[in-house]
């Protein structure tokens, strides 16, 4: 037996016994074991090893543990338990980790000090700006062209198919260990997959974004609502903003049946002047078909596994492993089902990101505030500014003094040293030289 021509290495034999090979590899390995005495011997010794290990038995768990844990469970219903942040971590923790943490915290503190000073100044500026706006000194806010959010779909394509294959593989070994059902099962799954591929029609997820400038905001809004109602659509989200001194604006995510998207867009354009429009269509057929195929595979697998469990009696370990596979398959099915439903809804309902902005007319009829009012306003805002400044300073001090103290503690020693050194140098220099 040349190692180069040997189709299975020793680890493969072990993986075969552990049910960790793909069904095809497992079948090939089984066939190979029939012929190769060397591998058969290895398999036998691995099996005997695994059969010896359970001799190290463990006594039954004391009933007190159950009592304690279940009491704790009853005491603390899930909702009442505050989430902690003890995520399971990898085993290899080093005790020096706290050192890293310490230095990270120090760096963060220094960074905060560096950032907080200019930030504070900036926030002062912002407050002043806002004050100016309230006194009516600023021009109407410019309407920025809305960015067009776009939903993107990554078409998994090849990888999805690979995944489907891989899944049917991982599920099969348990069955294989119970009998030679693995191959049959796999063939069946493939048949199902090809059947699912014959899904009629392309699946398109359509999205559009539209920005409209209108003179009659209220009319436009009413028209929009009627339009959505008439087309059996709904608002995914709706925001209306009416800032002072600027036009009102409405942003909404509208979901309408995909077939009616074009009609709706035509009518939406009539609401005013179209500033920007954007349409996109993502073909998710392949993704959908993949998903359907994987789902069918998983369902079939689950069915077979349940049959196996019902009809065959095996070792407890085998039964358990089949049950495990069923649980895992079930979980996959539920996930894929949910994914498919989401996809369905995205295909059935197109989404439009809509923005309607009011064309703002600077109102002339409101008279400019009188000099008295303006003086009053300026005085009030000046006072408010001063108060804000003081509060801001106090807040900043409270926030940074502890870190500054730490910094001072660190720097004190070298600075004192430096000062002493300079003094010594000065003392050493002749007085005449300084003149």
């Amino acid at each position: 037996m040349e190692p180069t021509t040997h189709p299975f290495d020793r680890e493969d034999v072990m993986a075969y016994l552990d049910g960790e090979l793909t069904p095809e590899r497992a079948a090939a390995a089984a066939a190979h074991l029939e012929q190769c005495a060397e591998c058969r011997a290895l398999a036998a010794s691995l099996r005997s090893l695994s059969s010896q290990l359970p001799q190290w038995e463990v006594e039954m768990i004391p009933p007190a543990v159950e009592q304690n844990v279940l009491d704790a469970a009853k005491e603390k219903p899930v909702a009442a338990v505050a989430p902690e942040t003890n995520r399971p971590e990898p085993v290899r923790q080093r005790p020096v980790r706290w050192l890293l943490w310490g230095s990270a915290v120090t760096v963060a503190a220094l960074f905060l000090i560096a950032v907080s000073v200019p930030n504070m100044l900036r926030s002062r500026q912002a407050v002043r700006l806002a004050g100016q706006q309230t006194t009516g000194l600023s021009a109407p806010m410019p309407t920025t062209p809305p960015s067009a959010p776009r939903r993107e779909f990554v078409i998994e394509g090849q990888t999805a198919q690979d995944k489907a294959l891989a899944e049917s593989r991982t599920v099969a070994p348990a069955a294989g260990s119970l009998g030679k059902l693995g191959d049959k099962l796999n063939a069946n799954a493939h048949a199902q997959a090809s059947e699912a591929t014959r899904q009629p029609g392309p699946m398109i997820v359509r999205t559009a974004s539209l920005a409209v400038l209108t003179k009659e905001f209220d009319a436009a809004r009413a028209a929009l609502e009627n339009l959505v109602k008439a087309h059996q659509g709904y608002f995914g989200q709706l925001n209306v903003a009416a800032p002072a001194g600027a036009g009102r604006s409405l942003t909404a995510t509208v979901r309408v049946p995909a077939a009616q998207l074009d009609g709706v867009l035509v009518e939406l354009r009539k609401l005013g002047r179209v500033e920007q429009e954007n349409q996109s269509a993502d073909d998710v057929t392949r993704q959908y078909v993949d998903l359907t195929a994987r789902l069918a595979n998983a369902r079939e697998t689950e069915k077979r596994l349940v049959e196996i469990l019902r009809e065959r009696t095996g070792k407890v370990a085998d039964v358990l492993s089949v049950e495990r596979e069923i649980a895992r398959t079930r979980q996959q099915i539920e996930q894929m089902d949910a994914e498919r439903k989401t996809l369905d809804s995205q295909v059935q309902y197109a989404s439009i990101d809509l923005r309607i902005t009011e064309e703002y007319k600077q109102s002339l009829e409101t008279p400019a505030p009188s000099l008295g009012t303006r003086l009053n306003n300026a005085a009030v805002s000046g006072l408010r500014d001063a108060a804000d400044l003081i509060v801001g300073l106090v807040l900043w001090l409270l926030g940074t003094v502890p870190s500054l103290l730490v910094l001072a503690a660190i720097l004190a020693w070298p600075v004192v040293k430096l000062i002493r050194w300079i003094r010594r140098r000065l003392a050493a220099t002749p007085v005449a030289a300084t003149h």
Binding site: M14, W56, E57, I61, A72, V81, R87, Q93
Partner: protein, 176 residues
């Protein structure tokens, strides 16, 4: 029979029965996990309890993306590591499961245990997770945060080493 993950989700919604069921599924296995790795049975009890309490506390954060088993054993492995660190500090010696456990075990059990405990630490962990906890290669990889290929090659090495160790110290059958 609902899956562990489904039970966990039910528990998240407040079903204490679901948690009880999960406890019954895993309590003995977890106890075995700690019992085979620690010298003191009381610590094994306490840690088993701690793991379930951690599950209770962390229930809101559990997401069905991870298998419940992997989640559970990740917590267990983490607690075991902490326990060993503590034991190492307290006793000022290397933390090790190779502490002779109670003598209440049979001769063959002691034979197997001694051989397993002579294995190199990570190889032993992988072997035990496979043989006693019956995790798949992938699950072991996830629990120990190492690549699957590493699991496979180390498991093979561990088994080969264990075979030698068992052969070398086979108890005289028939005697006593």
């Amino acid at each position: 029979m609902s899956s562990d993950e489904a039970l966990m989700l039910e528990f998240q919604k407040g079903s204490t029965e679901a948690f009880t069921e999960l406890f019954h599924r895993y309590a003995q296995r977890l106890y075995g996990f700690f019992r085979r790795r620690l010298a003191h049975p009381t610590r094994a009890e306490e840690l088993t309890q701690d793991v379930f309490v951690a599950v209770l506390k962390g229930a809101t954060r559990y997401e069905p993306r991870a298998l419940f088993r992997t989640y559970l054993y990740s917590i267990a492995v983490r607690m075991l590591a902490a326990e060993r660190r503590k034991a190492g500090r307290e006793a000022a010696r290397e933390a090790n499961a190779a502490e002779p456990a109670q003598a209440a075990q049979s001769e063959t059990a002691a034979w197997v245990r001694d051989a397993v405990e002579r294995l190199e630490a990570t190889e032993r962990e992988i072997l035990m997770l496979r043989e006693y906890e019956e995790l798949s290669y992938e699950e072991i990889a996830e629990v120990l945060a190492i690549p699957v290929n590493t699991v496979r090659s180390r498991l093979f090495r561990a088994r080969m080493a264990l075979r030698e160790l068992l052969e070398a110290q086979r108890p005289r059958t028939g005697a006593a």
